[in-house]
């Protein structure tokens, strides 16, 4: 058996190898970095996007939560939204009429994430209870008026930070957790199908904050973590990440696939959003705001969403701003946080409707707001 001294020597040599390989990787990638999306687009003569301050009008304000809104999700087909709040409730809204269709009191009030099932019949939520609860919206309430839980997915050893149903599959759900793993669940049996990352580290080395499933290829998903990396996973291969994406310098709070399914965006504690190429691993663009006059730290990015064409990137920040980035030219075209009828607090979550016609923002001011382009208010013109 090797002595401790031998092991220490091998450890030092292995550490040096890892550092050297990382440096070679970095240099190799830098050689391939001949341009970025903004420079390329400018050379192509792309015209900038031009918004008037009144273009993205707030057509609905959804009021009803008594605590900060932490998470929201749209249904894939109907215009319904589910939101999760510090008040310990999930509320399901009809975004067209602003009516609440369901108000679900949660067993554990410390909820952090929620998601709609693809058929719109169930919602999932998770938080500090380290579990993911499933509610069937067609269930009858009990005597106390509470909706019963139809399934609890237990197994995580840390808080559940994010959850998403696999598109077009009512029975598959992916969660991310403070225990540094992501899990694919079978909702009908409550069993874990696969665990991504974990005890023998091939995955994240810190809390995982966000997941996004590729709607073009539902076998692939990405996860963002406090270890400042994003990892790509194939749900058929849980033993190791397909690829790791470096670049951010702080916790990655939000990840979202680009509409073409070959790229994804990220938002981070370092104040930047980035666009990565899934297949090559290249960092294509950094969306970085200017520091303020007082040279304070950049506010963190809390949540991101892409418009349906990919031309716009919406990013919510910890200081209440919500920038609309021109994805191609890497310029801010609008700040929803400065508009009339904007939120009074931090925007904690963003979501795009499935048809791309509306953006919903959730905030610490306890409200949700739905914005559309004013000249295309249908179907939101009916109120």
């Amino acid at each position: 058996m090797a002595s401790v001294a031998d092991l220490k020597e091998k450890h030092a040599a292995a550490t040096a190898s890892v550092n050297s390989l990382r440096e070679r990787l970095r240099q190799r990638r830098e050689m391939l970095l001949d341009t970025d999306v903004a420079r390329y687009s400018k050379v192509q003569g792309r015209a900038p996007v031009s918004f008037n301050p009144t273009d993205l009008v707030c057509c609905r304000t959804l009021q009803g939560h008594s605590g900060k809104v932490y998470s929201l999700d749209w249904t894939p087909e109907k215009n319904w939204i589910v939101s999760a709040s510090q008040d310990g409730r999930l509320i399901v809204w009809n975004a067209l009429t602003s009516q609440k269709t369901h108000a679900i009191k949660l067993h554990c009030p410390w909820v952090m994430t929620c998601a709609f099932a693809p058929n719109g019949q169930s919602v999932a939520c998770g938080g500090l209870d380290s579990a993911c609860s499933i509610f069937n919206l067609n269930s009858q309430a009990d005597r106390d008026g509470n909706m019963p839980v139809s399934r609890i997915l237990t197994g995580h050893k840390g808080y559940v930070s994010s959850c998403q149903y696999v598109p077009d599959q009512e029975t598959r759900l992916i969660t991310s957790s403070g225990d540094q793993t992501c899990v694919l669940w079978d909702v009908t049996t409550g069993q874990r199908i696969s665990i991504f990352g974990g005890e023998f580290p091939s995955g994240h080395t810190a809390d995982v904050q966000s997941v996004s499933i590729n709607s073009s290829n539902t076998n692939m998903f990405v996860s963002g973590s406090c270890d400042a990396t994003v990892r790509l996973w194939d749900i058929r291969i849980a033993s190791r990440a397909v690829r790791t994406y470096h670049g951010h310098e702080g916790d990655v709070n939000s990840v979202k696939f680009f509409p073409d399914g070959h790229r994804f965006g990220t938002g981070s504690e370092d104040g930047t959003c980035r666009l990565f190429d899934m297949r090559t691993g290249h960092q294509l663009q950094v969306y970085s705001r200017e520091p303020d006059r007082n040279d304070n730290e950049l506010p963190a990015v809390t949540s991101i969403a892409f418009s349906i064409s990919g031309r716009l990137l919406f990013a919510g920040y910890s200081n209440g701003d919500c920038y609309v980035w021109d994805t191609l030219l890497a310029e801010v075209v609008l700040n929803l946080g400065n508009l009339q009828n904007s939120h009074d607090g931090r925007i904690s979550c963003l979501g795009m409707s499935s048809d791309g016609s509306a953006l919903c923002t959730g905030s610490w001011d306890k409200n949700l707001k739905v914005r559309t382009f004013k000249k295309r208010l249908f179907p939101f013109t009916t109120s």
Binding site: D34, D36, V49, C108, S130, G158, A228, D260
Partner: protein
């Protein structure tokens, strides 16, 4: 799918092995060596996979091509073409004659399909202002840009002689980048590149020594802005004995000394550092608090972090808590009735009355 009866069961609490292996001695080293060797294999695979990977410009091209293929309801509506331009455009496309003065006379931009421009080959130039400013429209292989001289390629990379580039100022070409301002021409070489101030960084000294493209002065950062534990690369004064297993990623988290003792904390929402979401839910626990778990009170709940006495009040010492221990710090409930007692079985959410400090029922049940 079949619906379950709504019975909320206690989650199973299997006895799990210690979260961290033995942190001292041979076993720790062996495990870390195993992890490093695996990482070496992954990195070699990744390095190999980069062979043959196209440059970033190819992905940028794909992104540009994709954007615009789908109608976007949130984008401003483009201006409609004037009728006269539409007719003109149709005629032009049929006649297929193109002269630069005709191209510039219209709001819209006619696209000439056959090579016949005045003194350039035809192309589809989207930028009308190029015409109006009087500059000729130069046609590259598949794009146009506004240039003083016609028909020169676009500078996608810095060529030795910028006179062959369309939009590259001669001073920007390598090797002399001292007056560089067109970033597309200059390679990011910290020593000789004139770049704007470090956007995105608080201080120039925060730039990593690898010199990110937006950095002007690349020096090693001070550790106040980098992770003191774990990845100390690039930091100038990080202690060398920082243990990556601490998982600390915030400068405010802990010093390396404290990180080494973090694993002794029993699991408290996975916190080995000030809980990331503590600003949302109140502070979870610090490692110090984790030691205060009263085992008799928290029977059956080994993960109980700080067992509130309200969990067990009203019970005598011989009986186990009939209610599972509160592993979540309970808020004070300013609005609760101090008359309603915790022991009421209808009470599902206990807390402490901020006034009298008695255990209260947050849901205000009446017994």
């Amino acid at each position: 799918m079949g619906e379950e009866v709504a019975v909320v069961l206690e989650p199973p609490r299997p006895k799990s092995p210690p979260r961290y292996p033995d942190l001292c001695g041979r076993r720790r080293l062996q495990l870390e060596l195993q992890i490093l060797n695996r990482e070496i294999d992954f990195l070699k695979d990744e390095l190999q996979s980069l062979e043959g990977v196209p440059q970033v410009s190819r992905s940028c091209k794909e992104v540009n091509e994709f954007v615009g293929t789908k109608q976007d309801p949130l984008l401003p509506i483009e201006k409609k073409r004037h009728r006269s331009c539409r007719l003109f455009w149709w005629i032009r496309s049929k006649v297929c004659i193109c002269a630069s003065w005709i191209c510039c006379s219209c709001q819209c931009l006619p696209k000439c399909k056959s090579p016949c421009c005045f003194d350039c080959s035809c192309c589809s130039c989207p930028d009308v202002s190029c015409c109006r400013s009087g500059k000729k429209r130069c046609c590259g292989l598949d794009n146009c840009s506004c240039c003083d001289s016609c028909c020169k390629p676009v500078c996608t990379s810095c060529s030795p002689s910028c006179s062959s580039c369309c939009n590259c100022k001669p001073s920007c070409c390598k090797p002399n980048c001292s007056s560089c301002c067109n970033l597309s021409c200059c390679k990011p070489d910290c020593g000789s590149c004139c770049k704007p101030n470090c956007s995105g960084f608080k201080l120039p000294s925060c730039c990593k020594f690898q010199c990110s493209p937006s950095c002007c002065h690349c020096t090693l950062p001070s550790c106040s802005s980098c992770n003191p534990c774990g990845s100390c690369k690039g930091c100038c004064s990080c202690p060398s004995d920082c243990k990556p297993s601490c998982g600390c990623f915030s400068a405010q988290c802990c010093s390396c000394r404290e990180c080494c003792s973090c694993p002794q904390c029993s699991s408290c929402f996975g916190c080995f550092k000030p809980f990331k979401w503590s600003s949302l839910f109140g502070s979870c626990c610090s490692c110090k608090q984790c030691f205060k778990c009263q085992s008799s009170c928290c029977k059956g709940a080994p993960s109980c972090c700080k067992c509130q006495s309200s969990c067990c009040e009203g019970e005598d010492g011989s009986s186990s808590c009939w209610r599972s221990c509160c592993s979540i710090p309970k808020p004070s409930c300013s609005g609760c009735s101090c008359g309603c007692v915790w022991s009421c079985k209808k009470c599902t959410e206990g807390c402490r009355c901020s006034g009298c400090r008695n255990p209260c029922c947050a849901t205000g049940c009446l017994c």
